[in-house]
């Protein structure tokens, strides 16, 4: 078997395994979110299904699948059906460019070279930002097609919010790009080789914080969960959705959570690299998994702790604080990088 054929087989295996693993992970993340929420709130969370209640998500999926597929009579039916997938599919695609282990190095499997990435794409960062922008369409279309005032308000809020925060996010990511001198995730991780003080979160601490805050807005989680603010807009753009269509939205949200956690750890926390080189004997995917779990926990922690901003406050933070700060961060990074060569 020649090397290209082996690479193709590996690629197919990776492309199948990655979504499956994410789906399994999401099922358990939903369970853990509920369990942690319970612990934060002095409750126990789900307990019945499976050991420690851990099969709760599967029960939920079964329930959602068995529900009636309800489409509002006056909705735009084609768009109403399409909207969940516009959010769902881009969520997965980003994982294709994220490295979960060494690429192009010594690593091999059965004697063939094995790259721990599905697609070593040169403009991975741009792809990530572009796919994030596509998801906005899903939210806005879902809100608009439902033909409900609450959905419309939620969709518009989400649209405005995600676009505003994407700017700050884009500018803060450019700092990393300049430091790695590349837009490829593989090169960015390679740029952070070494112990944890080589990771970008130390030189890019401002950019990293801006990125983290912007991802909170991108994920529609508190303090920026205005799009589905339960107490104001019932469920925002999800108001008219039910059954598995609603399930797909929820699912996409959690896939996004995993993906964004992966992106944060790749851009600022060394991706699959061990915090100390001594610990390199533990394989890369495991480190990436640990980091993703840590960030997912952080996002949960934030969600169950703090308040929600008002709409105009959210906008003023995005435009008046985060955007100027991220541009400043970019300018400083550019100067430092060009002076230091």
């Amino acid at each position: 078997m020649s090397d290209p054929i082996a690479q193709l087989i590996f690629l197919i295996i990776k492309a199948i395994l990655m979504p499956v693993l994410i789906v399994m992970m999401v099922a358990f993340i939903i369970f853990f979110e509920r369990k942690f929420a319970g612990f934060f709130q002095g409750r126990v969370g789900p307990t019945y299904l499976g050991p420690w209640g851990s099969f709760q998500s599967f029960g939920d999926i079964f329930k959602l699948l068995s529900k009636e597929d309800l489409i509002p009579a006056k909705s735009d039916k084609a768009v109403f059906r399409l909207a969940p997938y516009i959010i769902f599919i881009p969520a997965f695609l980003v994982m294709a460019v994220m490295p979960f282990g060494p690429v192009g190095g010594q690593a091999n499997l059965f004697g063939y070279r094995f790259d721990y990435v599905i697609a070593n794409f040169d403009a991975g960062l741009v792809l990530f930002l572009a796919l994030g922008a596509i998801a906005v369409y899903g939210v806005v279309l879902a809100g608009w097609s439902s033909n409900s005032n609450f959905s419309l308000l939620g969709g518009l809020r989400a649209g405005a919010q995600m676009i505003s925060y994407e700017l700050a996010m884009g500018f803060s990511v450019v700092g990393v790009m300049l430091m790695a001198n590349s837009m490829s995730f593989v090169d960015i991780v390679n740029g952070q080789a070494g112990d944890f003080w080589h990771w970008y979160f130390i030189p890019q601490v401002v950019g990293g914080l801006i990125f983290f805050v912007a991802t909170l807005a991108e994920l529609n989680r508190t303090p920026f969960d205005l799009a589905e603010a339960e107490q104001e807009l019932v469920a925002g753009y999800l108001t008219e959705y039910s059954g598995m269509r609603w399930g797909i939205f929820m699912f996409a949200e959690y896939v996004n959570l995993v993906v964004i956690s992966g992106i944060v750890s790749t851009l600022y926390f060394g991706g699959w690299r061990a915090p100390l080189e001594v610990l390199d004997f533990i394989p890369g995917p495991i480190w990436l998994f640990i980091k993703i779990c840590a960030f997912v926990f952080l996002y949960m922690w934030v969600r169950w702790t703090i308040f929600r901003y008002r709409y105009n406050q959210l906008m003023s933070i995005g435009w008046k604080v985060l955007l100027p700060l991220s541009i400043l961060n970019l300018a400083v990074t550019a100067i430092v990088v060009s002076v230091a060569g």
Binding site: A37, F40, Q41, G42, R43, N149, F150, L152, L153, T222, P223, D225, L226, A229, E230, Q231, E232, L233, V234, W304, T305, I306, F307, R308, Y309, R310, Y311, N312, Q313
Partner: protein, 412 residues
């Protein structure tokens, strides 16, 4: 100084911005918020005219929970009305019993023994604490934090346990009786109650650490939903919203009833009249309530807790099967009811949500000819339009929560 205690004009100035927003509004979208809406606290319905996120006009609709309480009361004897009053403001049931009993006692001229008055004060203040803690949880949940809601419910549980120990019920206590209360303090109540009221102020300090200096809460609540004392008078808004506008009106001080003139406490007053100050006022009130309960426990007089009034109050249940006089009294009270003289009375007390008044017109006999409850939630619910017009949708839920409306109390 003016930042601490703004004058009426200064407060009015601060509302100019929201008025301008209403004047500048263009095309509006009408949204029906409620009756099935997560933050309408029951079945309140508000029809909103929105220009983007700004509320241009509100048309509140109440009455979805109307149960004809006042009409029901006309068909019952004075004793039988007590459980109905529980269902007015079901989050502070005993206070409702209390207000009703005060009015009936005024009508019939019944003297409540000292111990009865003290126990009533203790139970009322426990209800006030439970109500304010619950309010805090819901108010914060409307601003987006569900965790805090659970923390508040956990702490409310301690108070509800006390009330359960005292009255036998957690929600609808039916503990008041004409001429006193249903039961004496149970064994061990004193000890447990002291433990709770020693521990609650620490919890309040903890809440304040979490919320008072929280930047997001401050931004969401400060200067939002300003209601000046003038507005409060115009819309008959009482209780914590009135006190947060700088008016030290508290019926417990101004027209003392029960044991309130024998205990020492302060009226919580703040001056900005916004959501944030309503929060501060309620937190202070919980502390003052703890103080009142402690004083009542310290000075609890001995003696009967229910008036020995053969014509107007029930006998003690334990005597009914042993003492023939008590049995006759029980028979009369249950089958005929307490006989009231002709006349009309109005009696108002300070419920946790505001002033709760009871008007009774009697034409003799054991049933009232007309009974009218003037409950705070009704007036607070109708004051929503001037409170929220010109504010944003997100603020509306915060403001609506901050004036503390319970629909059972509002619709009756």
């Amino acid at each position: 100084m003016s930042a601490e205690r703004p004058t009426l004009e200064e407060l009015k100035e601060r509302k100019v911005l929201s008025r301008q927003r209403v004047e500048r509004s263009g095309e509006v979208m009408t949204v029906s918020m409620g009756p099935q809406h997560p933050s309408m606290h029951g079945v309140y319905r508000a029809v909103l005219d929105l220009d983007g996120e700004v509320i241009v006009a509100v048309r509140p609709e109440i009455g979805n929970l109307h149960r004809g309480v006042e009409k029901l009361c006309e068909e019952r004897t004075y004793h039988q009305i007590i459980p109905i009053t529980d269902r007015l403001d079901y989050l502070s049931s005993f206070v409702m019993n209390h207000g009703y009993c005060e009015a009936v006692e005024k009508l019939m001229g019944v003297e409540v023994p000292a111990r009865g008055r003290y126990i009533r004060t203790i139970a009322s203040e426990l209800c006030r604490i439970a109500n304010h803690i619950m309010w805090l949880g819901i108010h914060i949940m409307d601003l987006g934090t569900q965790t805090f809601f659970c923390i508040c419910f956990r702490d409310r549980e301690y108070v509800l346990d006390l009330l359960e120990m005292l009255t036998g019920a957690r929600l609808t206590h039916s503990f008041g009786r004409i001429g006193g209360v249903a039961k004496d303090l149970p064994d061990g109540f004193d000890h447990r109650c002291r433990k709770v009221i020693d521990f609650l102020p620490q919890r309040i300090a903890e809440y304040e650490r979490i919320i008072k200096h929280n930047r997001i809460y401050y931004k969401r609540a400060k200067g939002v939903g300003i209601f000046t004392s003038e507005d409060c008078y115009a819309w008959r808004v009482t209780g914590p919203p009135l006190r947060s506008a700088g008016v030290a009106r508290d019926l417990r001080k101004d027209e003392p009833y029960s044991a309130y003139d024998e205990v020492d406490f302060e009226v919580a007053v703040e001056y900005q009249g916004d959501v944030y100050d309503r929060f501060l006022v309620r937190m202070k009130e919980i502390r003052e309530s703890c103080k009142i309960i402690r004083q009542c426990l310290d000075n609890l007089p001995d003696g009967p807790f229910l008036a020995r009034d053969v014509t107007h109050s029930l006998p003690l249940k334990k005597n009914v099967l042993r003492d023939s006089a008590a049995m006759i009294q029980d028979f009369y009270q249950v089958f005929q009811g307490p006989l009231a003289p002709k006349g009309e009375v109005y009696r108002a007390i300070e419920a946790p949500k505001g002033e709760m008044g009871v008007y009774i017109r009697s034409e003799g006999g054991a049933k009232p000819a007309r009974i009218r409850f003037t409950t705070p939630s009704f007036y607070h619910g109708q004051a929503l339009p001037p409170l929220v017009e010109g504010e944003m949708v997100s603020d509306m839920v915060a403001i609506f929560a901050s004036i503390d409306v319970v629909l059972g109390d509002c619709d009756r």
